[in-house]
Symmetry: C2
Subunit: 328 residues, 2 copies
């Protein structure tokens, strides 16, 4: 018996979930839900029905876990509490500052519906969070560092595209090598925003646009660019499509800490990701937590959970015996 | 109320546990147990009693978690099942091939005593195992690689010291940089033993010993050195003490995998440790799992557990609310 999965929202993340499900024999995609006209949505998996989002609750008995692929700004704060009335759910809510509020909203509904909600599954929040937690529990006397990139920041790319005279653009966040090396040395440096990351922009300008003004506007944009060393490259539409159509990302979580009666020994714990496709990797994490959500609910558990609350063995399709024999 | 910890066995690992406990305000060392004459053992913590190992069971009511610091070859297979009759216990049993047997032996006793045993806590098995599990659950279509070092291998150092004419010696296991780079490229190379690690030996020979013979004996030793590229340096006793008295270790767990409808996207997940003191870091992991063992038992759980079975939040001294607000 496969675990029956629904996908709610069919953008980059939803498509990533669809493709991740194919890599897991114990999972089966049974329906996709969209707020657009379902008759106009063509999905990659043959034979799987597409429904309007409003129809989801009618399929409560046919879906074991609903994976919510909407955005964190306006979709998930509404959808996750609503959907957990009917389904075990997993979302990738990633507005870090609002996680406690989202957790509370979802938890109260899940507790009364008897379902499991896993929120904020992905890599940050998600795998990066796990590594921050494990590393700080092991080395309480130490310091955490998180670096992002090299990767595309959607928010920064959008900000560039809003500038007058810009047709299109992509922004890469890049960790500064010398900062990474300083952290790895165990010296526990204090690093400013500017010292940790640089921002590299590839911009397609309208014909005749004032490139010097565009570059100046980008580099001085508060919050987004002003606190960083930013480089701006003007390229053609064709170059942008050829060289910058991917959605790579990644980053580093490093903890530097000390042990010993006199704190005489240094230790470095480093976790890093190098991802060709940010949404597909996020989807792969989500799908593993969908398996966990289903199993936990089968055992009688309910309520809102995060990656912190779920024992690792629940993520794997292998039995506990097999895991101990092959991976421990 | 602190969690009351006992240390059973006071070698390098036991001393590491003693020092790790000092870094955790919610843990308190209440007793050390030794098979030697307790009156002759001087520990680093004032006011903490040292007892003979035989006396441990009499303190069942005064100790929340007993940390077992014996060796995997002969101590833990006997001690862990025996001690879990009376205490929640944590061990660092590291004979990978015998973990299923050890688990079964410990689990049956723990189930009837109502205590928790966490076995094989440390970094390999332990944190490395966790990273193998998480990474393979997220990227089912991929390949795992584990590299060890640079670090001191006790077993290989002992093997050197058994050779005639050798007064003392230290062996470092070193991952081969080009192999690491090949794995990180995503090409999923097949690597031989020789391609993954080199072995570097520092040897103090007796005066007049035949160094050429010693070097040849080391390099041709089956299992230990014959399958590796090994370098041998002869140094003085003083140099060995000055430059090689530490017990550093570390390593890398890397998973390379693919996602996408046509497996078109590559991803690299890498976890690495760089440790000044192998026993102190292992002890730090054990101590975090001692906290988890106590909490699980307080919730009514019993039986044998591994790092795979324990939700990450149990390891941290912080509340779930604080973890979500600060680390997720």
């Amino acid at each position: 018996m496969s675990i029956r999965i629904g996908i709610f929202g069919y953008g980059n993340l939803g498509r990533g979930v669809e493709s991740a499900i194919r890599q897991n024999n114990d999972l089966e995609l049974v329906a996709v839900f969209t707020r657009r006209d379902p008759s106009k949505l063509k999905i990659a998996t043959e034979g799987v029905p597409v429904y309007h989002a409003d129809k989801a609750k009618e399929l409560a008995d046919s879906i074991d876990v609903m994976i919510l692929c909407g955005g964190s700004a306006t979709d998930l704060p509404v959808q996750t509490p609503e959907m957990v009335k009917y389904f075990n759910v997993v979302d990738s809510f990633d507005t870090h500052a609002k996680i406690p509020e989202h957790f509370a909203n979802v938890d109260s509904v899940a507790a009364s519906s008897g379902k499991i909600a896993v929120i904020s599954a992905g890599w940050d929040p998600g795998m990066f969070s796990l590594n921050r937690l494990y590393a700080s529990a092991i080395l309480p006397d130490g310091k955490d560092y998180t670096f992002w990139g090299k990767g595309v920041s959607q928010g920064h790319s959008d900000a560039i595209r809003r500038i007058e005279g810009v047709l299109d653009g992509k922004q890469y966040t890049i960790p500064v090598d010398s900062a990474l090396d300083a952290v790895r040395s165990g010296s526990e440096p204090e690093l400013t925003t500017r010292q940790k990351h640089i921002r590299e922009c590839f911009v397609v300008a309208e014909e005749g646009a004032d490139k010097a003004r565009i570059e100046a506007e980008i580099k001085s944009m508060p919050n987004y660019f002003a606190d960083y060393d930013t480089t701006v490259h003007f390229i053609t539409k064709e170059e942008l499509e050829r060289d910058h159509s991917g959605i790579p990302h990644g980053g580093f979580v490093i903890r530097s800490g000390r042990t010993g009666l006199n704190s005489e020994h240094n230790h470095i714990i480093e976790y890093s990701l190098k991802l060709d496709s940010n949404p597909e990797f996020t989807a792969s994490v989500i799908v593993a937590y969908a398996r966990a959500a289903y199993r936990l609910n089968c055992e009688g558990a309910s309520g809102c959970k995060t990656v912190f609350d779920i024992a690792p063995a629940y993520l794997s399709s292998r039995s506990d015996e097999e895991l101990r024999a092959t991976m421990l």
